[in-house]
């Protein structure tokens, strides 16, 4: 009997709880919870996928998951990799002359195994347009430009060092691309088994050994840990490989930042809706207590409701999240690979954790305090007494946050900025409103301002929530725009994609005229004079430079010098100033490594002649930009009289390919480096990243807008009684609408304006110190954000006004 009683009681509790959710008491809480779960599921699923795609893109660029680069062969590493279950492939790389019957050319020889590349795509096209993807013994594959440079055809013989090999075909696409035209000589691919025949590997010859690894992340980490790096050895991974790595690491940071911001916004709404729910339950709890409900019973009553709501929110949120991720992916369909990596169960675990960590304190604290409601409230409304009960629940999300984001400086920067700004925003908004109220206004506006002033605490809370959410939305958008802007700036669409080197002085004028005649956008022509730096302030390099610095590029080989009347406008002068005579401008990393300063005297050897110049400036050079760049640029008087060849970079599109071929034919001695394929690859990667970030930012903004909408609706609902009373007393729809418009409108505009300024300052610090990019000011946002806030007020007022205007029944 006892058991059946209990079970019938439980059934009723369950029914009751379900109805509480359906009939609107709990739906705002559930909506916020569902939104959190949906956002976290969708964003983290997408993040996992985009991350995997970005990582695989990055790995395709380096041809492996991890690359070991060394000046000496390292057999021990290979056996270690084998023990760790890693796949490996070796490459030996050197520069040598290639001789055809008609010509010769300095080339980069990559001697690879058949397993190369472990990641990314190698496309080789043979005589009958037969495509293959790996290099076999006795094969020789050459860059397309070598066919004209060496005046050879597929099937002809080519001498590489001592070896004579038959050209198997041309290289259409290969991984391991670089953007430095001076380091990218035309390359040829041979098989590792043919390497000894070339006789290129001798004592003292400059050879680069690369070992590629593919396998589990843990094994790769273990491999790196097991090996002690020697001088001139380094690991290359997708995270430290130049431009694509920079792109990827910043995109990843942006991903996690967006997730944090969306969660933050949803949390604010959850907290507010939970407090609203707890407030709306005070009368019921008091009534139940007056009827003799024990605390234990009430606890069970609340737990059943909250439990049901959580379960429903998790299920519904997961479902919406899956659909949302699908929707988010639609625009990416063409650029994402067909076989997308799965996201597994992690997004759901993560979403559940986040929902619990935020939901427990958000709902737990007001509910624990709700249990303390005095039964006397049924007879007399009581002033709520401030309580600190349940505060410890706040530790949960804080501890989790530290655990997950402990190392992400970007997230911490944003958070600490937000906390400070939260106070500043709310109070400055309030101060602005206070100022406004000192002026004379119409009746509706005066009423609105006086109400805002009267309920100071509530107004400040609302302003903080409103301006905080607007700030996050603005920040997500600004950050995306600035990141993309920076990337597109360093690699704009009109970037040069062809470099012409070795232009003889006699050809220079004609060559440039040919380009100009065809309306080709080109850089100025630069003289190229090869030489070495030999002494600093009269002291020989080997005596003055620290031994560990003597291995840097600038010192161990001849490098390219140029002269100019002015420095290129894309090189920023960091120190000093350009002079007319006897001067040299030094690139900043070289200046730093060799401790060269303004006014230092440098000796160079060019063609067995010594030239001396005084350092007049230190320059920043972006080596990733596809522009001619130099370590040393001299004033004309120093080296202009020395024999030189010329270099020019220009941009051609696909329709101008015949012109390129013609240039190749007409000027066979000029080396043409065609970066079109590489450039396209980078542009494609950029396009993918731009899409992903835009979609994510879009989602962030949409969820932020939804949350602000919920906030406004909630706040309007709380005003229901008051407005109903006005209506009952006969206030016209117009008067009520006007007052509400004024009150919420003025709040929205002020919050929007303050949020725009706040977002601008966070964005500024993030760009400058977080992402280390150039910050900019966005005046348009100062108008767009208040306008957006006004639109949201309009939408929420429109959706609520009918209900609000019903008179008392």
């Amino acid at each position: 009997m006892q058991t059946s009683n209990v079970s019938s009681g439980n059934k009723m509790l369950l029914r009751w709880s379900l109805r509480e959710i359906w009939q609107g008491q709990l739906w705002p809480v559930m909506a916020a919870l569902t939104l959190i779960v949906a956002c976290v599921v969708a964003l983290s699923a997408l993040a996992i996928r985009v991350d995997a795609v970005l990582t695989s893109q990055g790995r395709a660029m380096i041809a492996a998951d991890l690359v070991f680069n060394s000046a000496t062969a390292t057999p021990s590493l290979l056996s270690d990799a084998q023990n760790l279950g890693l796949t490996s492939s070796s490459q030996t790389r050197f520069q040598t002359m290639a001789f055809s019957d008609n010509n010769m050319q300095l080339v980069t020889v990559k001697s690879v195994e058949s397993s190369y590349p472990l990641r990314g795509e190698l496309i080789l096209m043979g005589e009958t347009e037969k495509v293959s993807h790996s290099v076999q013994a006795s094969e020789l594959w050459i860059d397309e430009q070598l066919l004209s440079l060496l005046a050879v055809n597929i099937g002809d013989k080519l001498a590489i060092g001592d070896a004579e090999l038959t050209i198997s075909g041309k290289i259409i696409a290969q991984p391991e691309v670089t953007f430095n035209p001076f380091r990218t000589m035309p390359s040829v691919l041979i098989h590792e088994s043919d390497l000894p025949k070339t006789g290129a590997i001798q004592v003292g010859s400059r050879v680069q050994y690369r070992t590629f690894f593919k396998g589990e992340k843990s094994a790769l980490t273990q491999l790196q840990q097991n090996y002690q790096l020697q001088a001139s050895q380094r690991w290359i991974s997708e995270d430290n490989n130049g431009r694509s790595a920079d792109l990827i690491s910043k995109s990843k940071q942006y991903l996690s930042l967006t997730i944090v911001m969306v969660i933050l916004m949803a949390s604010v709404t959850l907290i507010l809706t939970c407090q609203h729910y707890a407030r709306s339950r005070i009368d019921t709890v008091a009534m139940l207590k007056s009827m003799g409900a024990s605390k234990g019973w009430l606890r069970r009553w609340l737990l059943v409701q909250v439990g049901l709501m959580f379960t429903a929110g998790l299920l519904l949120g997961s479902l919406v999240g899956i659909l949302l991720e699908l929707l988010l992916r639609l625009p990416l369909q063409h650029i994402l690979p067909e076989q997308l990596p799965g996201y597994g169960y992690l997004p759901f675990v993560f979403a559940t954790l986040v929902a619990l960590l935020i939901g427990l304190p958000a709902l737990g604290i007001p509910l624990i305090r709700l249990l303390d409601t005095s039964a006397i409230v049924v007879l007399q409304a009581q002033q709520p007494t401030p309580s600190k009960k349940g505060w410890w629940l706040n530790i949960l999300p804080i501890a989790a946050f530290i655990f997950f984001y402990g190392n992400n400086s970007l997230v911490w920067m944003v958070l600490s900025g937000l906390i400070v700004l939260f106070f500043v925003l709310a109070n400055s908004s309030y101060a602005l409103l206070f100022l406004l109220s000192r002026y004379k206004w119409g009746a509706a506006m005066s009423l609105a301002l006086s109400r805002i002033k009267r309920s100071q605490k509530i107004t400040i809370m609302q302003l903080a929530a409103l301006s905080g959410s607007l700030l996050l939305v603005t920040l997500i958008w600004l950050l995306r725009s600035d990141l993309l802007g920076d990337w597109q700036q360093t690699l704009p669409a009109e970037t040069a994609n062809v470099f012409a080197l070795n232009i003889a002085p006699a050809q220079q004028q004609a060559y440039l005229q040919e380009l100009d005649k065809n309306n080709i956008t080109r850089s100025p022509a630069y003289a190229i004079i090869r030489g070495r730096l030999t002494a600093i302030n009269g002291g020989k390099i080997k005596d003055t430079v620290a031994p560990e610095k003597q291995d840097i590029n600038v010192l161990h080989r001849e490098i390219n010098f140029t002269w100019a009347k002015q420095l290129p406008d894309y090189n920023e002068v960091l120190e000093g100033a350009w002079t007319d005579k006897g001067g040299v401008s030094v690139e900043q990393s070289v200046a730093k490594d060799l401790q060269i300063g303004i006014g230092d005297s440098l000796d160079f050897t060019v063609n067995n002649q010594t030239v001396v110049a005084t350092v007049n400036s230190i320059r920043a050079v972006n080596w990733q930009s596809m522009k001619p760049n130099f370590y040393f640029i001299f004033t004309p008087d120093v080296i202009a009289q020395l024999p030189a060849t010329w270099l020019v970079s220009f941009r051609i599109d696909d329709s101008q390919t015949p012109l390129l071929n013609e240039l190749g034919r007409n000027y066979p001695t000029v080396s043409l480096l065609d970066f079109r394929i590489i450039g396209e690859k980078i542009q494609q990667l950029l396009a993918q990243v731009v899409w992903s970030l835009s979609v994510l930012a879009g989602l962030g903004v949409v969820s932020g807008i939804l949350l602000i909408f919920t906030l406004l609706r909630l706040s309007l609902t709380q005003r229901q009684r008051e407005i109903t009373l006005y209506r009952t007393l006969g206030a016209s729809r117009r008067r009520i609408s006007q007052t509400l418009w004024c009150e919420y409108g003025v709040m929205a505009v002020v919050a929007g304006f303050v949020a725009a300024i706040g977002a601008e300052s966070i964005e500024f610090s993030l760009m400058k110190w977080g992402l280390k990019l150039t910050p900019s000011v966005h005046i348009e946002m100062w108008f767009i954000v208040p306008l957006l806030a006004l639109l949201l007020v309009f939408a929420s007022l429109m959706s609520a006004i009918k209900q609000l205007l019903q008179p008392l029944q």
């Binding site: 009681g9 009723m12 009751w16 009534m287 007879l379």
Partner: protein
Amino acid sequence: MSLSIIKTVSVCKSVSSNEAQLSILNDISFEIFARERVAIIGTSGAGKSTLMGLLAGLDSPSSGEIELLGQPLSQLDDEQRAKIRSESIGFVFQNFLLIPSLTALENVTLPAILRGEGEDIVKAQQLLHSVGLSGRETHLPAQLSGGEQQRVALARAFMTQPKILFADEPTGNLDEKTAQNIIELLFEMNREYGTTLVLITHDSNLAERCDRILTIHAGELQEL
């Protein structure tokens, strides 16, 4: 000699307001015996509801002692007082206080559920029948008129056959005719279940129908 159901000795209640003490009830002492019908009358703000809250153990006096069903309330904690209410006390409120998301029938079964007795649907149906609401069992409060809601509240109050029924201005929100019907019903059920009735009202005609009338004026209690 009848059994003393409620006994108050020198009960005072004051609240702090703007750092000053405001006295609401002052030295109140009286007894209410089993099956008595007692009206407490007074003007608005005289302290009637405050006194009812104290008598039902919903609030605690600033000084003095209250015995409810032979138990000194000052020696009981919140949970023990709640237990007494769930076992022996029924309430009817001015604004009905039904749960909006529960049907009429479920609202009536609620006190039994709070006692851990499960849903006694048959009894709840009988009670609804006796207040004239047969056929309205599945209606939600919003689908009922004010008078009908108060009937449901009456049925709910008698669900656990309480020893005491506290009625706080039970007709305060109803029109005259409906109020009359509700009062008839209240007294009839009170008689039928042999309950002690404590009725808070400002209506002297209604008070006249009770066995005793206690008046509160400026925190002082007098028996008429």
